[in-house]
C-alpha cells in the first residue's frame, strides 16, 4: 500500500493522511496485517451525511506502531468475522449503532440494546434471540441483570446439561449511558471527568488515554514528573484491583482469611491514591497537559512508608492462597481458555497473558513513564496455562511488579512542576490521535478526531472488557455451572466500560 498512516502511541496526524480504501482492499489489508500478528485495537464507524466511514486501528507490538486506515461503507458490508474472529464484537457494535448490515456475520445481534438515531420502537434490554442447545435434558439457566451481590448488571444465559455448561452467552448494555455520543463539543475539563467514569475502577487508565489524545492534538507534552505521577497512579490502580479480585477469588472458594484481608488491603491501596489527590479512585489526578496534583518529598515518603506496610500485608494474605492445596486445586484447570482461542478473539491484559499471549502496551507501545520504567511481563510456567490459577498467579506477580515500578518511578521524581495549563489545550483542526494505555484489565484504546474548528467530532473508546467478555464465555465451556463465580472473578470485566 502506498499511502499509509502510521502513528506511535499518543501521537496525532492530519485526517487528510488517512488512507480511504475500497471495501475489498480494506478487508484484504486488515486480514494481511492481522495474519502477520498485529492486533485489532479498534474498529468503528463514524457516520457522515451520506454514509459511514469505517476506521481500523491495528497495533503492531513488534514495531510499536499503530496503523490507521479507513473505508467508505454502505448499508451492507461483507463481514470480516468469519476470517477475523477478533472483529466479531466490533462488527456487532457497528451494526447496532449505525444499522450497517454485516453480511456473513455468524451471530449479528445487539451488544448494548442502544436505540439507533431516529429509532422510535421501544427497546427491551436483553430481549433477543439466544443461542440454544437442543437435546434431551438440556436446560437453560438465566441470571441477571440484577445479581445477588453489589455488582453491576448484565445478563448471562447458560445452556446446561445437568451441572455441565455447554455454552454461555453474555448480553450486556444495561449500563449504557451514551458516553461516546456525549463527548463531541464537551469542554475538556468535563470530558476528562467523564472519562474517569467510563469505568470507575479504571479512572486513571481511561483519563490517561484521553489526556494523551488531547495532548497529542494540542501539541502539548506532559512533564516527566507528570508522567511519573500518572504512571504511579495507574500502577496503584492495578494493585488495588488485583488485590481485591484475589480476595474475591479466595472468597468464591470459601477461603475466608485471604478474602477478608485482601478486601481491607485493597482499601489501603486506594487510600494511597487518596494521599495523592484526595480521592480513592484518583479522580482529578490526570489532566490534559499534566497532573492536578504534585508529589513533594514529604508525600513521597508517606507513600513509600504506606507501601511498605501494604507489601507485608499482601504477602501475608496472598501467599496463603498457594500455601493451601484445597484452594489451588479449585483454581487449577478451572475455566481454561486455550492460547489459540485467546489469540483468535484478541484477548488482552492479564487474562490474555495468562493464556501465554505477550500483550502489554506498557512494553509494546510505551506511554507515560513506562518508556523508562518497563515492567517485566511475568512469564508463568504453570504447565497448563489459561485457567483460573494462571489468571490469579499473573495478577499476584503483577502486583509485586507494580510495587517495584512505583518505587523506582517515585525515586526518579525531581522538583520540576507536574501541573497543567488549561489555556494550552487547543486541539488542531481535522486531525486524528490515538492512545493506548495498559489498564489493569488490559489495553485501553482511545481514538479522537477533530472537525474544522478543532472540536472533537468523534471519539472512540475501547475498554479491555470489550475484547475479553467473550473470553469469559469461552472459559465456561464444559465447566460446572457452579464454577461461574470463580471464572467471572478471575476476569472481573467491566460492565460499564463495555456499555459506555
Amino acid at each position: 500500500m502506498k499511502n499509509q498512516l502510521i502513528l506511535k502511541n499518543g501521537t496525532s496526524a492530519s485526517l487528510d493522511k488517512m488512507p480511504v480504501l475500497e471495501s475489498d482492499a480494506f478487508r484484504q489489508h486488515l486480514t494481511n496485517l492481522l495474519q502477520k500478528g498485529s492486533r485489532l485495537s479498534a474498529l468503528f464507524a463514524v457516520p457522515t451525511e451520506q454514509q459511514a466511514i469505517v476506521y481500523a486501528a491495528v497495533a503492531d507490538d513488534e514495531t510499536a506502531e499503530i496503523e490507521l486506515f479507513a473505508s467508505k461503507c454502505g448499508r451492507k458490508n461483507i463481514s470480516l468475522t468469519p476470517h477475523i474472529p477478533q472483529a466479531h464484537w466490533f462488527e456487532r457494535e457497528m451494526a447496532e449503532i449505525h444499522g450497517i448490515e454485516m453480511v456473513g456475520h455468524p451471530w449479528l445481534k445487539p451488544i448494548r440494546f442502544q436505540p439507533r438515531k431516529g429509532q422510535t420502537v421501544e427497546i427491551i434490554p436483553g430481549a433477543t434471540e439466544y443461542f440454544e442447545v437442543k437435546g434431551e435434558e438440556v436446560h437453560e439457566v438465566g441470571v441477571g441483570p440484577v445479581h445477588a451481590g453489589i455488582i453491576e448488571p448484565g445478563h448471562f444465559r447458560f445452556q446446561c446439561h445437568g451441572e455441565k455448561v455447554f455454552h454461555l452467552e453474555i448480553e450486556l448494555g444495561y449500563q449504557h449511558r451514551g458516553i461516546e455520543r456525549a463527548i463531541p463539543g464537551m469542554p475538556h475539563e468535563k470530558a476528562i471527568r467523564l472519562m474517569e467514569a467510563v469505568a470507575g475502577d479504571t479512572s486513571i487508565g481511561h483519563a490517561t488515554a484521553y489526556a494523551m489524545n488531547i495532548e497529542a492534538l494540542s501539541g502539548l507534552k506532559a512533564s516527566q514528573n507528570a508522567k511519573i505521577i500518572r504512571s504511579v497512579a495507574l500502577e496503584l490502580e492495578r494493585m488495588a484491583n488485583h488485590t481485591g479480585d484475589l480476595g474475591a477469588l479466595a472468597g468464591d472458594v470459601g477461603f475466608l482469611p485471604t478474602s477478608a484481608y485482601c478486601g481491607r488491603i485493597r482499601g489501603d491501596i486506594l487510600n494511597t491514591t487518596g494521599l495523592i489527590c484526595g480521592n480513592r479512585f484518583g479522580r482529578g489526578l490526570v489532566k490534559a497537559g499534566g497532573c492536578g496534583y504534585e508529589i513533594d518529598s514529604d508525600l513521597k515518603k508517606q507513600i513509600l512508608d504506606k507501601l511498605l506496610l501494604i507489601e507485608a500485608d499482601l504477602h501475608s494474605a496472598i501467599d496463603l492462597i498457594w500455601d493451601t492445596p484445597s484452594v489451588v486445586s479449585r483454581f487449577e484447570e478451572t475455566g481454561t481458555v486455550s492460547r489459540e482461542d485467546a489469540l483468535a478473539i484478541g484477548m488482552v491484559g492479564p487474562a490474555g497473558r495468562a493464556c501465554g499471549l505477550m500483550v502489554d502496551t506498557r512494553i509494546s507501545h510505551p506511554f507515560g513513564a513506562f518508556d523508562k520504567f518497563a515492567p517485566a511481563i511475568p512469564l508463568i510456567e504453570l504447565g497448563k496455562l489459561g485457567d483460573v490459577n494462571a489468571r490469579a498467579t499473573i495478577r499476584w506477580l503483577e502486583i509485586q511488579e507494580s510495587l517495584r515500578l512505583i518505587r523506582e518511578m517515585l525515586a526518579a521524581l525531581n522538583s520540576e512542576p507536574a501541573g497543567y495549563n488549561h489555556e494550552q489545550v487547543k486541539p488542531v483542526a481535522n486531525s486524528v490521535a490515538i492512545s493506548l494505555t495498559e489498564g489493569w484489565r488490559g489495553e485501553i484504546c482511545h481514538v479522537a478526531m477533530t472537525d474544522e474548528q478543532g472540536q472533537l467530532k468523534a471519539y472512540k473508546i475501547v475498554d479491555p472488557s470489550f475484547h475479553n467478555w467473550f473470553g469469559l464465555a469461552l472459559s465456561l465451556r464444559d465447566q460446572e455451572i457452579s464454577d461461574f463465580p470463580l471464572c467471572n472473578k478471575s476476569f472481573n470485566l467491566s460492565y460499564c466500560g463495555h456499555d459506555l
Binding site: R112, F113, Q114, I123, P125, P145, V146, A148, G149, I150, I151, E152, P153, G173, Y174, Q175, H176, R177, G178, R181, A182, P187, E189, K190, R193, L194, A197, V198, A199, G200, D201, S203, G244, P257, Y261, G263, R264, R266, G267, N271, L275, C277, G278, N279, R280, F281, R283, G284, A312, D313, S316, A317, D319, L320, D323, T324, S494, Y495, C496, D499
Partner: protein, 252 residues
Amino acid sequence: MLQILKARFHQKYRTFPFPEKMPPMAARYTGRPEIASGNCKSGCNACVAACPVGALSLGENKRPIIDMGSCLFCRACETACPEKLINFTQDFSLAANKKEGLLINAATFKRAEAMGNELRRLFGRSLKLRQVSAGGCNACEADTNVLATPNFDLARYGIQFVASPRHADGLLITGPVSQNMKLALLKTYEALPSPSIVIATGACAISGGLFKGNSEVNDGVGNLIPVDLYIPGCPPNPWTILEGILRFMGRL
C-alpha cells in the same frame, strides 16, 4: 494451618471504632464545602464558569450556591473564587433527607435526620438493603462494597446487603439510572415489602451526575421513585456512606 494462624496474627485487629472515634481522612480529602459570609465581587461569575458540571449557581444576592447533589468535589470553584469565599472542609458527613438539603450557600449544613419513629420501630436495630447499580461506574459500588470489609465491618451496626429485594427493608441505588436499567430497577423496587426506604448514593443517582441530560439516562433515582436519603459525592467516601446510613437509622 500454621501459615493461616501466622497470617491472622500479622493482620491484627483492624476494625475502626466509628462513631466513637472519627476516622482520619487524607490531607487532600475534599469534604463539605462552606461558603463564607461576605460579598462577592460585583458581576463576578468565576466559580460558575469554573464548574465543569454546572453544580454552581448564583443565588438572589448573587452569592454562590453549590449543589452537592451534582458536585464532583473537584475544587475548581475554590481555586477560581477571587474573594476566597468558597472553602472545602474535611467534613465527610454529607447526607441529607431532601435534595434541596444538598444546596450549600453558607458555612452551615443541616445533616440528615433519622427515619420516622414508625419505621424505626419496624426495622428495629437492623437494616437490610438491596443494592442496585443502575448505570453506576463501579466507583460508588466499590465504596459501598468496601463497607463489608473488616476495616468498617458493616454487620456490627446491624446493616447488611442482602441478595433479594424480598428480604430487604430498602434499596441503595447507584448510577444515573440508565434507560436500560429502568425496568429492572422498578421491578426490584416493587419487589420490596412495604414500608421500604430508598437511598440514592453518588452524584449520578442524585442528579444524573456527569451524565445529566443524556437521553440514555433518567437523571437520577428521584425522577422514578421517591428517595429518603441522599448521599452525595463522586463517588462518596465509604465513611460518608456509612455515616449517612447510620444517621438515617438514628444511630448518630
